[in-house]
Subunit: 421 residues, 4 copies
């Protein structure tokens, strides 16, 4: 066996020797913003996309986020601007979309969420939850009609799955679709959806409903401006504890007529679930941006703020908080890149998505909370931004699968036994 091992190792020897010489040629400096050099795993075009997204987010989004958050105001021009940069539906390879890798999509999410999880939510919904299912499950006509408009952000979409009484368990949904009693070639949809990002401003409302004839879940693309008055209402939910820079609402459907040709070509929960996997992937990647922003801000504060004649950054209890958060950011980013690569190779299992969605959300939240302590009393001021991230990240942890639900999805993957109920 010894022989075999040594034999196989031979080409390595050369490689190793070569690298070894390089090792002594350079002193590597630790970079807290990319502690485990994840950028070495990125393609040049991915780095460039990240740079594009970052520049836009820092220059355009950051300036307005405090006001947007205070006033619970979301400017739909943001989607237009993102669209003009090619950031919407970016993984779609057709219809003029950018056709980038999942990792590139994750990097976009990260840069947007570095500013605010709410802005990332708005982008995620448009890209993964509206454009995604249309691309995956739409007819050619649906794709040709909607994708270009959504891509450019001139049409805003939303995704209606969660119902007031069915959060973690969408299979029990109560919204129904049945042949319209009076309009031929139309379905009639009735029911209610809640916590729907972008619903109050959406032009295109994707609603998942149980088709009465089959009992199966189907997706419907509802164009707001073709709905008779009173059949589609999308009131905003105000006074949110987090994600206040994004807009959230309900969807009330009351015998809303939807043309048959607006039904998606997929049956059952796998329709919404496949898009959710993409959205969750974006969340897993995106939260690392929020965490990194917290780290950056906490570090700066700790270096600038002096107490007992030392900068806070000199205190062990402060350094521990920074070390923990930086570690989690590094680990979370590596895992998101890995799953992105697997995703593009068709090798991703849903449990992997659950794992990184859960872990990265959990750790981003824990990290942001710990870093918030560094600011002491000043953390109470929203101008330090960290309180906003903390509030946002809590919501992000609960949506698209609350942390515990993902624990049980992973648990089922490990044991083969469902423990949801």
């Amino acid at each position: 066996m010894l022989a075999a091992l040594r034999c196989h190792a031979r080409p390595q020897i050369v490689l190793t020797r070569h690298l070894r010489s390089r090792r002594y040629a350079s002193t590597i400096k630790f970079d807290f913003q990319d502690p485990l050099s994840s950028k070495e795993l990125l393609l040049p075009e991915e780095l460039e996309i990240q740079e594009t997204a970052r520049a836009y987010c820092q220059e355009r989004l950051l300036t307005g986020v405090l006001d947007g958050y205070r006033d619970e105001h979301y400017d739909r021009n943001i989607l237009k601007e993102m669209g003009s940069l090619g950031l919407l539906g970016a993984t779609i390879p057709t219809h003029g979309c950018a056709g980038v890798s999942s990792v590139a999509y994750g990097l976009i999410a990260k840069e947007v969420e570095r500013v605010d999880s709410g802005y990332r939510s708005g982008m995620s919904v448009q890209s993964s939850l509206v454009m995604g299912p249309i691309y995956e499950h739409g007819t050619s006509e649906q794709k040709d009609k909607y994708l270009p408009l959504l891509r450019d952000g001139v049409m805003v979409g939303c995704f209606g799955l969660t119902e007031p009484n069915h959060g973690s368990d969408p299979g029990s949904m109560e919204t129904t679709a049945k042949p319209h009693p009076s309009k031929k070639g139309f379905y009639s949809l009735s029911g209610a959806k809640t916590w729907i990002t972008n619903s109050p401003i959406a032009d295109l409302v994707l609603v998942w409903a149980k088709l009465q004839e089959t009992g199966k879940i189907r997706g419907f693309l509802i164009e707001r401006d073709r709905c008779p008055p009173g059949t589609l209402e999308t009131p905003a939910i105000k006074h949110k504890n987090g994600l206040r820079a994004s807009i959230t609402g309900m969807i009330h459907l009351d015998d809303c007529p939807v043309p048959e040709e607006n039904m998606l070509q997929v049956e059952g929960l796998k329709g919404p679930f496949s898009c959710l996997n993409s959205a969750r992937y974006g969340i897993a990647f995106g939260t690392m941006g929020a965490l990194e922003d917290c780290i950056e801000r906490a570090r700066t504060y700790a270096l600038d703020r002096k107490q007992f004649n030392n900068p806070l950054a000199k205190y062990q209890l402060i350094q521990k908080k920074l070390s923990d958060a930086v570690t989690d950011a590094a680990y979370g980013t590596l895992s998101a890149i890995q799953v992105g690569r697997l995703k593009d190779r068709g090798m991703v299992a849903p449990e992997m998505i659950s794992m990184i969605k859960r872990q990265n959300c959990d750790r981003a939240l824990v990290g942001a909370r710990a870093l918030q302590e560094i600011f002491g009393g000043n953390a109470a001021s929203d101008e330090y931004h960290i309180g906003r991230h903390v509030a946002n990240l809590f919501v992000v942890q609960t949506y698209e699968g609350q942390s515990d639900i993902h624990s049980l999805i992973i648990g089922k993957g490990i044991t083969g036994i469902p423990a949801f109920s």
Copy 2:
């Protein structure tokens, strides 16, 4: 900017489209033993090396570990067997060593530590802390003389850095080397080292001492059988709380004569620290093996053991523990692979090593402890192995840099400010 993004993305489109078709061709099943498909990052020869190591460890080491642990007995033939398989000093590209990648070395560590952290410790010391410094800092004569013997495990080495009064702060060491008063061409070494893996059975004792003439720390290779009686004693430390399957001892030097030509060609703490980085890298990788063994055993127990008419695996509180541990194992393995690749490309900063050593040790320990709870009262029996892993992992967390010390090393990397004292 839009144009640029879309343009760069073009080659991606093709790639993405190709992969997308593959996605629907296969259903990916979640594998709790490699949850994020880290094996996709390994070269074929690395997988083969892992397989070789795994077979040996499971067939040969596992069978004796309970007795070894109970009796605090370490069989030095283990090193000979490892040597015959090419597992010792495996990253060294000369002197008949395997010359494998750092990742391959990590995989060997993982497979050994899957059985017992103590066995991995014995291997780490020989490879990273004895062969490593000789390869890095030895003269040609030293290399030619010692590396082949150490490689084959016929000579056992140990590494003496830590002193009774100086654990986390080796720069304050008290062991000294001065010109021997009576033997020309010899240094005389005096001092004490403690918690030295393998010292009681070592043939070659590498000791770090302050050279009286310069005040600088230097390394000395002491051949036990050339030491006059009473000048080198290596009593074993018994009644350990963990790592009982490995052997640990002290080193007492009393005017021990060491030939000048046995001094290593490196000055200062960078001598021991560069080897420690390799050893710590192996620990970071290795602990994931111990954690995976805990997962495997806890999962099996939870599936087999019934309480209240259900297997334990059906309970949410059990599934949460499993999910947490599996996630940490997956993340820890990815980070170890990443750092290994960087290491071989000369791109590793010491803080990266601190980060993965700290995090993987911490999480392995936390995970093992949580999984131990699954065994209920039966955890108290050593036949379930998990208590042994828990006890081992605590020690592993403290050695080669206690977790808090690494927090501060990382903290210094982040803030630029030392907070050690």
Copy 3:
């Protein structure tokens, strides 16, 4: 020795036997609202005070808290109403104050904080940080003049210690008092204080400043309506992340003239610190009210909300969160009662206050956060109240000694060694 033990035990025997018979006469039902029967430790009048406070808080404060929190509005009539009930300065035994025990004061704080930590903050400042120091360190004239007005809430006070650059380290304050250059019998105060609860609405501003002549810290009672324009400004701090139902501001002093007779009769940091101990005691007790409200609301939600055909309350992961929080509420309440009793007997050490302030704040925050997860997506709505408690409790954890600072105060108490810097 046996004899002695048995002998001493004799009176116990009777007691025990008597009780034992009672044990079988009654079945004790577990009460999650008072899990360890802390009410058995309360005097009848204390229970009555709690009842009075609770009725007021639930009937009057709860109804307005959502609006107050949303709009960052604090109604100063609240203090008048509390005053009319005898809830202000309640431990003071003179000047018509209630003269109740520290435990009774804690119970008042608990009932107020059950509604909102901000309302409790407003009450704490008036009682512990303004009336307290006047009662402890004021002249007879000061007491007679201010205590009755403060007691009734017709005069509102605030407490200015923290400065923009000196949070955890008030000894480094920069605010100074010196003989007024032009007004005889007056001091001139200059400096800035920040994060001062009630400052924008305060009639009486207690400011701690360094007396130029001695370098010692002294307290000054500044009547707003006697300050020349421009010498005292108290701008509100808006856009807070928490405690939005209370009002917070800065204090800017610019050669503000203060009559000599308005100086308190205490020198050095022990002046503000003795009051802080009382305020912190109230916080330790009060946070248990916020935590209990979270428990009550989360439990109700978990019982009402069904997912996967079961109420959430049936799920193990939910029950664990509830069990943890209920345990912390029970333990925290016991400890607060104990310290209150010791306080009234003159047996309290400052470290005890640090211990319960730190632990109860920490655990209330951890508990509230965990319970918030039970609400899933609905937690984002402020109508469930829990998000407000979470945001408040974070601020409460940081003020009047951030958690880590109290760790170090306790640490110094344990080891005798200061580790603040």
Copy 4:
């Protein structure tokens, strides 16, 4: 309402004023060994009992514990010595037992567990699990026959409830009792029990079995020396991970004949459960002793051990660990005293016992583990004692209701919904 409050408060005023004068008469020093002055809650005779127990444990037990733990040896003379001091069955008010309060019993447990949880286990079993049920459910004859012998420790008892396949769910036990086929007036018992403290040395084996005739669980007192050969075997379980200073074994019953008059007068699970409540109470109190010993040792080590020119005790990360553990010890002790008082007044609900058993075990374990880190590499030596406490406390956390099971008992108490299966 104001009037009422002030009126009620009047007697308090006097009290408060009196105390207040005392406050300034004395400076209270923080005592890390009793941080919240729990001793103020103890009666003089309870303090004396604690002193008696402490002196014995420190003088007699501590000296042998290392050897006992290393060799897995338990000296049954320990029980005789405890008996001679009146420490066994101490709450029983008859048959020459001490008849002390539950708190006094808890203090005894605490002093014994300060040395070793295994010694406390041996004492707990004798007192709470053998003498307890005989006193509570025994006939006069049983009491008169066994209690004096058990009280003096000349007879050793054990308690057989847990079975190999039924740990957390004793209601599913398989051990049966049926009329003996050949010996009139005898039952025949068959089955197996495991993890039974003291079983290998027990003279009196209390076994819980299902009575075949009724299907109800009944308790049987089996005198070892009256069992025909082969009908009762109690092999020791060796190679334990913790509690090695106590002796643990199995009970194998093979048609073991037991006289009818040796059956206890209680039916169903309430028989064993009422005793378990007492035992668990002792555990909740006792673990605080182990934790306090860890604190004491870690503090001493941190003060003595210097690194980077300072005692470890000067480092913030060390002080935080100490602060946390000291806080948990203080809170846990208060809660145990409170429940003890309630217990003696017949006011204890089982959920209270679950709460303090769970919480105190959990926190003792967490605290001990964190403190163990202070010892760095030296923690691996058993001579620092802390590794032993850590290993013990893990077992204590799992026995007599694993932590999670108690979470669910508490959860059921809170929600009314069982979630065990």
